[in-house]
Symmetry: C2
Subunit: 328 residues, 2 copies
């Protein structure tokens, strides 16, 4: 690998501290199992059900870990975030719990369910054109400076990665209660924050478990970056209905962590994702958004061996009903 | 009330013993909460998510409690059950875990997802005409005698009621962990076994909590039986898409328990149920079948006051995808 820092930008102590900060606030989501899916896989599959998290995705974890640790004056002045939807809702909810005003920069074409979910927590929303000239980071940075707001980045941030890592910590604890150890963990990957956190926690408990990123075709920047040992971006004209996973390239910190800890990145098609969403409906009774289903999609499509014990992170369930109905 | 037995046909000790029998086998389903649904209700709502139970409904609990306690010879000879679907799957799965052969008598028009879910556990299925001459109980009794199989009744059985009661016991424990007490509990009601068990457990922890049955319009036999103090049946030509709740009349034992413990029975329309299924999709990310959604339907339709703390049992999620899609 290209980098070999003395200390990685995220440690298990960070994740443990996040778990402490989140105690009593976060939902400890269940680890589900399905006989039918086990039979199909030829191994044991466990599903970490983050659609049942506050705001319907894992994003609340990182956002709360970050915002709750801001100094009181900064928190009172308010926070700002840019997001296609799930980070928006996570920041809005975390800000609500921390009594911080929140301003969210969202693309105009974000799913309605994600815009509503953000507004519900009292956050203000500013929309932008996803295909416009000014990148969303720049818009948010400008507004942050103008209005004296603290930026809550979606993934490239130690506290955010640590908060998302509590997903992996809970997986470790829940498997330990069953006296089981995972052979591999499949994690949906956009900017790489969830993967970095989960990998850090999982490797702490189970150094031999393989952690695989899973990305939609056309947005496999992390898979290619891991394979090539340096940061790769996506084609500007790529498209996928996995709206939660459309980051243009890996984060710097997240990639540094993931290079150290992750096995081969997996890639799935939108068709495979749709099959996975229907399978989760039938066998797990859980609503998955496209980006939340990529791990199951990789498993069902045979993208990785499934002997032994595989944990699949189902990262979110914020999907418009019309799209979900069309998939069923 | 018409009856006033010295000892009710179900006690909290029965439920506690069932919880012991089910330990390590049953899924301890989560108690979910949604800010959006709380706002709509004007009170705090908690949802006991039995779609996440083995077989996708609460029915596994009672079936396992019954079958695991049969004497070994009886168990080895096999069990038989009649069911429109959820009890069928519950018995099939429990028999699988107990190494007992299972024969299930199902209506020809049971949802495909429920027939598949039953066959998956290795049970044999015999179908019958729901509108035919011989009642399903008689068909099952005849087959039980011919083949020396032990009958596992769907609700009118002490061990079945006790097993379903573990839903209420978990609710009590989960609320206690939050330092909360329920003002009322809403329970989907077909034959009344789930209600009898849940009411027995809840009243043990919280004598002042009101337990309300919820039934689909046309199948409000328990509501009328509770109001009139004696067992009432439904009209033969009634129809509802809540296929899990179409029992013709309350059980004898279940009604005896429910008369002692339950408040007013609530009734909802199929339209109100469809609205509830869509709301659970949006806000809880849980798949509900029609019969599993009647409690939420009653809450959203304003059938009962929702001040304070209301627990709603979501009893199952085995619904055909085409029906679910049409509701979204």
């Amino acid at each position: 690998m290209a980098t070999s820092p003395i200390e990685p930008p995220l440690t298990h102590d960070d994740v443990a501290a996040a778990a402490e900060a989140l105690r009593g606030v976060v939902v400890r989501t269940p680890l589900l199992e399905s006989r039918a899916l086990n039979e199909r896989a030829g191994g044991r599959l466990f599903f970490k059900a983050e659609p049942l998290q506050i705001t319907g995705s894992f994003k609340f974890r990182g956002a709360y870990n970050h915002i709750s640790r801001l100094d009181p004056d900064t928190r009172a002045a308010g926070v700002i975030a840019y997001s296609s939807g799930n980070h928006a809702q996570g920041v809005a909810a975390a800000a609500h719990y921390c009594n911080a005003p929140a301003l969210i920069v969202m693309p105009e074409d974000a799913p309605a369910v994600k815009k509503q979910g953000t507004a519900r927590w009292g956050a203000k929303i500013v929309t932008y054109d996803r295909y416009g000239e000014e990148p969303r980071e720049a818009i948010a940075a400008r507004l942050a400076a103008e209005r004296n707001l603290a930026m809550v980045r979606p993934y490239d941030d130690r506290l955010i990665m640590a908060g998302q890592g509590t997903v992996g910590r809970e997986i470790g604890e829940q498997l330990a209660a069953l006296d089981l150890a995972p052979d591999r963990v499949l994690v949906p990957c956009g900017g790489g924050g969830l993967t970095a956190g989960v990998a850090t926690a999982i490797k702490h408990y189970h150094p031999n478990a393989a952690v695989h990123t899973v990305e939609p075709r056309g947005f496999d920047d992390t898979a290619r970056s891991l394979a090539q040992g340096q940061r790769q971006g996506n084609e500007a004209d790529a498209s996928s209905f996995c709206d939660a996973l459309l980051a243009p390239e890996p984060g710097q910190l997240t990639l540094q962590v993931n290079q150290l800890l992750c096995a081969k990145g997996l890639v799935v098609s939108d068709e495979e994702v749709a099959v996975a969403m229907a399978a989760a409906f039938e066998h797990l009774k859980i609503v998955l958004e496209p980006g939340g289903a990529v791990g199951l999609a990789a498993a069902l499509a045979g993208a990785v061996a499934l002997d032994g014990i595989t944990v699949i992170v189902l990262s979110g369930g914020n999907v418009d009903p019309a799209l979900f109905a069309s998939i069923l």
